[in-house]
Each structure stands twice: as structure tokens, then as C-alpha cells.
């Protein structure tokens, strides 16, 4: 099992330089990867900023995998340009890139006025177009419902990165994502029971739709904070959690109409009320493994229990969240690397 380092900072919490500092630290401490989400830092959900981040991370790190998580594919103006940029990053990073795509969030649809009802079809077509150019099997012209493209080049834009997808742990998303990706990233902020159900659901959909393929990656995202003691860790975590919930997490489960089925949106609405976006009670957070908080021994114990249940292939630890300052995030990552990583 691999461990990646990621972050979900609140407004003005970290600078772009801070994000690079954390990525370099993860690289030097032996983590398997670093992940960036479009909403992290000041990217504001712009998918092209995610690719820019990945390009810079390729330069700033030397060995870790670089995962761009939940980059909004339907919002990409040109999937061919994105495919070209991803192939370029993949080549210059010595094949360390993982391209993570999702359908995007409510703010993107409200701002762009892109109709969310068309998002799944755009997602499918964008990946089809990207795969076409990555494989170098270009027809002279690609005629889709959303994009048409003249393909003058006859050479493949290679190497192509592995594709992961992020979305709700629901059947309609699995049916969309399983044929198109080699990995599924569970949504952050959910409890381990929901994550376990989601992991099983994706594996089932994947094996049904792609019986010949290798088993998929299943990626579990979870906030992690390792303190000296349980009490000191919880004291700090609680202080960061509330403002994080009130600012960044309010809309975490809000979906625009048509992005997913009404049934899935109804479930997401209910899930929001039982997620880290709203739960504040220490016992509930611990019991549900919404976040792993405590002394090194406690965090290791919680991590082991959750892994037993979810069986992820990769854990993406959110080692910085909300208003946690960069110095605390660095200390958090160091403690995990020194006292927990060797025992995994």
C-alpha cells in the first residue's frame, strides 16, 4: 500500500510556496506520492491550474508520484490540449504523473454556466478524445457531440498517464467511471463505513465492466494529524476543524442539478449531514475514522483498522487542512514519516 501527501487548505492558509515546501518534504521523507486537488491553494478549481501545479511539482520533486486529483474534465475547453500537456508532464517527470479527473463542483457550473446535465457525456467524450490522441490512433477528424478536432499529427502524444476518477461512491458514478479509469479516488470527508461500501462498489463495477483488466487502484483520502499526545493532537485539530467546516466545507457535498441522478444527489445531501463537513464530536470522528487524529500510536491503530475495512491500494493523507499553518503541517508529516510509516 502506498501513502501520498496532500492538503486541503482554507482561504489564505498557505501560499503556493508552502505547498511546494510540503511536496518537497514528502519527497525527501520517502512518501510514495504527492497529490494536489484543484481547489487546493489558489487554483480555484481551474483544471488548467491543476496541470500547471503538476508541471511545477514534476520540477520540484525527484521521485514521488504526482497525482492531480479531481481535475474537472467537462470544464476543459480543449481535451486535446490537456492531453498534450499531460503527456508532456508525464515525459519530463519520468512517468510519475497520475491524472485524476472528476465532474467538477457546483461553483464551476455556476460560474461557467456549463449545463451540468451534459457533464457525464462531456466527461466520457473528453476521455475518448484524449485516449485517441494518446494512443496515436488519430483519425483525420474527431467528430463528437461537444468537440470536433482536426488531427493533423500522426504521432502519439506519449506516454499517457494512468487515469483515476473521483466522484460520489454511488452506482451511477461507478458505471460512468469504471470503463474509463484504472483507479477510483473515494471522496474525502466520509466515514470509513461509507468508504468501505464505496470501495467494494467500485471494484464490483470495475470487474463487471472490465473483467480482463488488472484490479483497480482504490484510493482513500483522509485527514491525518499526528500530535505528541492524543490530547494535544485533538486540541489543535478541533481548533482548525470548526473554521474549516464553516468556510471550505459548507458546499463540499452540494451538487448542481443534473450532474448526478436525483437519487445520488439526495444521498449526497444526507451524507453531508453525517460527514466531516458537519460532524464535530470527537468520539464520532474517531469512531467513524472521518479523520485520523492523536498520538503516533493512536493514529497507527486507527489507520490499521480503517485499512482492514476499506482495503485501499493507496492512502492519500490530507496532512494539512483548513487554517493549519505550514509549520504544523511539516511537523505532522515528519511525525508520520518517522513513527508510523516504518510500521506500515
Amino acid at each position: 500500500m502506498r501513502v501520498f501527501v496532500s492538503q486541503l487548505p482554507g482561504p489564505q492558509a498557505l501560499t503556493e510556496r508552502d505547498l511546494l515546501t510540503l511536496a518537497r518534504l514528502a519527497d525527501s521523507l520517502g512518501f510514495d506520492g504527492v497529490a494536489s486537488a484543484p481547489g487546493a491553494g489558489r487554483a480555484g478549481g481551474n483544471p488548467h491550474t491543476s496541470l500547471l501545479q503538476a508541471g511545477i511539482l514534476a520540477r520540484e520533486t525527484s521521485r514521488v508520484k504526482i497525482a492531480v486529483l479531481d481535475c474537472s474534465l467537462p470544464a476543459m475547453p480543449s481535451p486535446v490540449q490537456a492531453a498534450d500537456q499531460l503527456a508532456w508532464i508525464q515525459q519530463t517527470s519520468h512517468e510519475r504523473l497520475i491524472a485524476g479527473f472528476g465532474l467538477g463542483g457546483v461553483e464551476q457550473y455556476e460560474q461557467s454556466r456549463l449545463n451540468p446535465a451534459s457533464a457525464s457525456d462531456r466527461f466520457r467524450e473528453a476521455l475518448q478524445l484524449m485516449n485517441t490522441v494518446w494512443r496515436g490512433e488519430q483519425p483525420e477528424r474527431f467528430d463528437g457531440a461537444f468537440w470536433t478536432w482536426q488531427l493533423p499529427q500522426r504521432t502519439a502524444l506519449t506516454p499517457a498517464p494512468p487515469i483515476w476518477t473521483t466522484g460520489p461512491a454511488e452506482k451511477d458514478f461507478f458505471d460512468l467511471a469504471a470503463p474509463l479509469s484504472s483507479g477510483y479516488v473515494l471522496p474525502a470527508l466520509i466515514d470509513a463505513k461509507t468508504a468501505t461500501k464505496g470501495a467494494k462498489g467500485f471494484r464490483k463495477a470495475f470487474s463487471k465492466q472490465r473483467p480482463e483488466a488488472d484490479a483497480p487502484e482504490v484510493v482513500w483520502q483522509v485527514p491525518i494529524f499526528v500530535g505528541e499526545t492524543d490530547e494535544s493532537a485533538w486540541k489543535d485539530f478541533s481548533a482548525w476543524l470548526q473554521p474549516w467546516q464553516q468556510t471550505c466545507l459548507r458546499d463540499a457535498f452540494r451538487e448542481p442539478p443534473g450532474l448526478f441522478s436525483p437519487r445520488t444527489i439526495a444521498k449526497q445531501t444526507r451524507l453531508a449531514e453525517q460527514s466531516l463537513a458537519t460532524v464535530t464530536d470527537r468520539e464520532a470522528i474517531s469512531a467513524g475514522h472521518f479523520a485520523l487524529v492523536g498520538s503516533p500510536e493512536s493514529v497507527q491503530e486507527q489507520l490499521a483498522a480503517a485499512i482492514d475495512s476499506i482495503e485501499p491500494t493507496t492512502v492519500v493523507g490530507l496532512f494539512q487542512f483548513g487554517q493549519m499553518p505550514v509549520s504544523s503541517a511539516q511537523e505532522n508529516i515528519r511525525r508520520f514519516a518517522k513513527q508510523i510509516f516504518p510500521n506500515l
Partner: protein
Amino acid sequence: MKHTPETTFVDIAGRKTQITRGGQGTPLLYLHSAGGETEWTRYHDLLADHFEVFLPAHPGFDNSEGLETVNCVTDYAWHYVDLMDHFGWDHVPVVGFSLGGWTGMELSVLRPQRVSKLVLVNAAGIHLPEKPMAELFGDDLDDLRERLYFDPDSPAVEESMPTTRNDPRLFQWLKAREATAKVGWEPYLHNPRLPSHLRRIECPVRILWGRYDRLIPVETGQFLAERIPNATLEIFEEAGHMLPFEHSERLCREIVQFVQGEK
């Protein structure tokens, strides 16, 4: 309720369409709003004292299918041309509320001779830059209630929309929201080409509007009254967007008088 409505399904040009009908007399086609009032309400019952009310659910609403073949409200209007063919209607009165009013206008533009009279109740479909429509697609139910009703604490609210996240009507409401977004996300709840075609509406038109409609401002009703050749406007005081629920009796009286009247 005095009437016993019947809900059936008919195939309209390949789309399974749910239709609830009740009452006797002249057929009256009622086109519902984005709220998806496809169940028989007190208001439909009052209309059924005078007409045989046909209440279809638009494709994608309630148990009607075929949303995947619909991309705009003009497609809904064509669906109702097909529905008129199905029932053999040459000339029927149409009542449209909000999204249904927009659909009714598009239908009257496409087939002017087949709509005998048109009633528009707080109709969507027109964008006035100086008085734009407010946001409908938010999911804060309290905000929405403030926007839709003159009195957000009135009993009409409970009758017509889910009030909490645990309300059993929430799923149907989300489904209605999905279908509305499919046809009205962008351009936002309007057809930019519609104003130039309003002159094609031939039948008498009665426009009914709530003075304090905070979703679609009353100026839209005034605009329609100026642009549609044979239209009159009646403004309801102490009313918001949800006229059929806020002023059921008076609204029905207005509709009956207009549809059964000489003009």
C-alpha cells in the same frame, strides 16, 4: 377533493408520458411549473369543476420519461404538439404556470391555430436585463421559500414544496430540478429568440402575475402584455410566484371567466 382524477401513461412520439386527468367538459391542457406540481391539487380540482383538466408531467418530471431526447423548452413544446395529435385536439385552451407558461408560449408560436386561449401564470421564458429572474437552482429550501411566496410562512408552502431535507417529496423535487436544469440552465430559464416570435401568438392571452413575485419580476408580465398581440394583464396584490397555491380560488375564477368568456 370533489373529483377523482385518474393517472395513466400514454406513448407520445416514443416518450412514456404520465397524464393525470379529472373533471368533465371541454379539455383544458395544464402545463406545470419547474416545481413539478404533477399531482392533483386543490387548484386542479377547482378547474375540474368546469373543464376536463389534462395534467401531463413534462418529460423527466415525475414518472414521465424521455428527458434524454429533450434539450430545450422548444422540445417540450413539440412534445405537446405531439400530445395534441395523440388526443386529436385541434383547438384547446392552455394554462401554463412558470416553466409551463414558457412552454405554452413556445407551443402557441409553433402551432398558433391549435391553442384557443392561453393563460400565462407568472411565466418564465423571457429575460429582462434590467429585471432578471432570481436564482431557482440553489438548494437552500429556506431561501427558495422566501423567493417563491409572498408569505413564506403561509400554509401554501407546506402544500407545494418540500420544507426539509427529510421530506418524502424531496426526491421528486430533485427530479424536477434536474429536468428544469436540462432545459433552462443556460440560457437561464429563457429563450433569447422568443421575444421576436411573440407576435406569432394568435389567440387571446390572459397574463396573471403576483405583484411580489421575487423569482420572475412582475415587469416580465408587463413586457409580455405589450408584446403579445391580444393579451391582457391582471396583477394579483399580496401574491408572489406561487399563485396557484397562494390564490387558488381567485386564480381559477379568472381562468374560467377568460376561457369560457366570449373573448
